[in-house]
């Protein structure tokens, strides 16, 4: 029974958490990919920047969280969202729009996004240093323990407050996005442009307005994901490349230009990662007494050692590219 609870803690909860982060990131990537037609390499660094913006706000107003009984980093999230959305638009104006206006091939925008990602990298390190920081320097991180009402289970199911907030916020974001995409003119136009950009232009849809909306959404979700991730673990400047690959994998698995696909893809990649690094021998151990003596269960039986976690999204990515480049939700073939 304890083994099962261990599984819940290590796989179900962790997988959901990391899956939500990937999903939020992948939505931004997939929207930008679908509408601006390039893989935005700077997205993970946008998440990092968002987290640092939240951190600055949190240290400017310590105790803001205590008033409502939530972590300060979470309370200042709306401010970080606004800042990062504005920041995303500024970056677009400075680095992407001039190229778009020159009608360059979309892959040039990809090169530009590499430049942007390096700049963000440098800025974060310059102003914040490389050492990790915690949102919970002066606050206590609440942890909820759920007693499992079985006799054999002595362990608790453990989930921390940031993790609960992360799951709730992700669900809220996803529903808000769904409503926006299906019930507002701008949202529908975004889907339309992602579907068929030429026809959108021919229909008189103001494409620059759509592009702006895309950056606002991508930036906002990046701020949410970055902040909540660093609330759950720590705030460090080198999230980027380790996060980028799973996010791209999630977006491609879900199908480019398909926000719902990105959510499914995010969860799929998140769970695959946690399942792959999970030590399966723990689950097998209770069966030891029923097995003949000559079979002994190795102490560690994981598909991938934790250090090699990055292999998992890569394998998923390659598998999808080979067998179904449009992703499970039939995205665009670009």
């Amino acid at each position: 029974m304890n083994e099962l609870i261990f599984f819940v803690n290590k796989v179900l909860i962790s997988g959901t958490i990391i899956g939500c982060i990937y999903a939020l990131g992948a939505i931004g990537v997939t929207l930008v990919f679908g509408i601006l037609r390039f893989a935005n390499f700077s997205h993970a660094d946008m998440m990092t920047v968002g987290a640092y913006i939240a951190f600055i706000f949190a240290s400017l107003m310590p105790g803001a969280g205590a008033l409502i009984g939530l972590p300060t980093g979470f309370v200042v999230l709306p401010l970080a969202i606004i800042c990062l959305a504005a920041f995303a638009i500024v970056v677009d104006r400075l680095f992407y729009r001039p190229l778009r206006e020159r009608k360059v091939r979309p892959v040039m925008l990809l090169v530009a996004s590499l430049g942007v990602t390096l700049m963000l990298h440098g800025l974060v390190r310059l102003f914040a240093g490389t050492s990790p920081r915690s949102f919970f320097q002066d606050e206590k991180k609440d942890v909820f323990r759920f007693d499992v009402p079985f006799e054999l289970a002595s362990r608790d199911i453990v989930i921390s407050e940031p993790q609960v907030l992360l799951i709730i916020t992700s669900i809220v974001c996803i529903f808000a996005l769904h409503w926006f995409l299906t019930h507002t003119k701008l949202g529908k136009a975004m889907r339309a442009m992602s579907d068929n950009a030429d026809l959108a232009l021919v229909s008189g849809i103001n494409t620059e307005k759509i592009v702006r909306a895309t950056w606002i959404i991508a930036g906002s979700l990046a701020a949410v994901a970055g902040t909540l991730l660093s609330l759950d673990v720590v705030l460090k400047p080198d999230l980027s490349f380790n996060l980028l690959l799973p996010i791209f994998a999630a977006a491609i698995v879900g199908g480019i230009g398909r926000p719902y696909g990105a959510i499914a893809g995010g969860l799929l990649v998140g769970f695959s990662e946690t399942l792959a690094i999970f030590n399966w021998s723990i689950l097998l151990r209770p069966s030891a007494e029923f097995l003949p003596e000559w079979i002994d269960i190795p102490a560690r039986m994981a598909f991938v050692p934790t250090e090699y976690k990055i292999i998992v999204p890569f394998v998923i990515l390659i598998a999808v590219l080979i067998w179904r480049p449009t992703g499970i939700f039939k995205g665009q073939v670009l």
Binding site: K185, K188, A189, R191, A192, N196, V202, S203, G204, T207
Partner: protein
Amino acid sequence: MLIKASNIVAGYGGEPVLNGIDLSIDSGQIGVIVGPNGAGKSTALKSVFGLIQLTQGTVSLAGDDVTHVPPDQRVSLGISYVPQEMNIFPSLTVRENLEMGAFIRNDDFSSVIDNMYDLFPPLKQKATAVAGQLSGGQRQMVAIARALMIGPRLLLLDEPTVGLSPAFVYEIIERIKAIAARGVGVLIVEQNARRALEIADIGFVLAAGKNLYTDSGENLLNDPEVAKSFLGG
């Protein structure tokens, strides 16, 4: 004249595809562009909509020069264009496709949508269906209805009946006649010259980027020269 394109020279960089063509129709008229493959029919239509840069010539809409107006602004002036392929938003519902056609409208256009449902009854039943899953004929209806949502003065259709079953071809042609009867000028590019000229008020026969004949549809159909060269005898 509702639309008047004179002496247009245009292409895609390199050799021009159009070498000085003239097209003009009036409100309520159906103009048909026919000609052999590579004559520049689709290019002519695109140049009227402003999708390609003209190296020479002018386009005017109801007397106003629109030669340098970009395509998205021509939509606001009342020109709608239906491309030959990829002319719907496949993952949007039929109704959403129509709403996107009305993107530039800020008024309540639900009556216009009802109007489209009257014009193309199958779309009413399929209103909430995803457009990409409709049959070819129904997609073409969505495409045309989308273009009509702004209440255009001029409708440009690039091969609206290509690849459709005969029943749908009849259906679409009937609808085009109905649209013109409402006072909209319609300019069509057609592969099937004979059928198109039957409904044409004016026919433009193009070859190698030039006007070869311009006359009423009936006269062109009865012209033995045209019949021999372009209508298969």
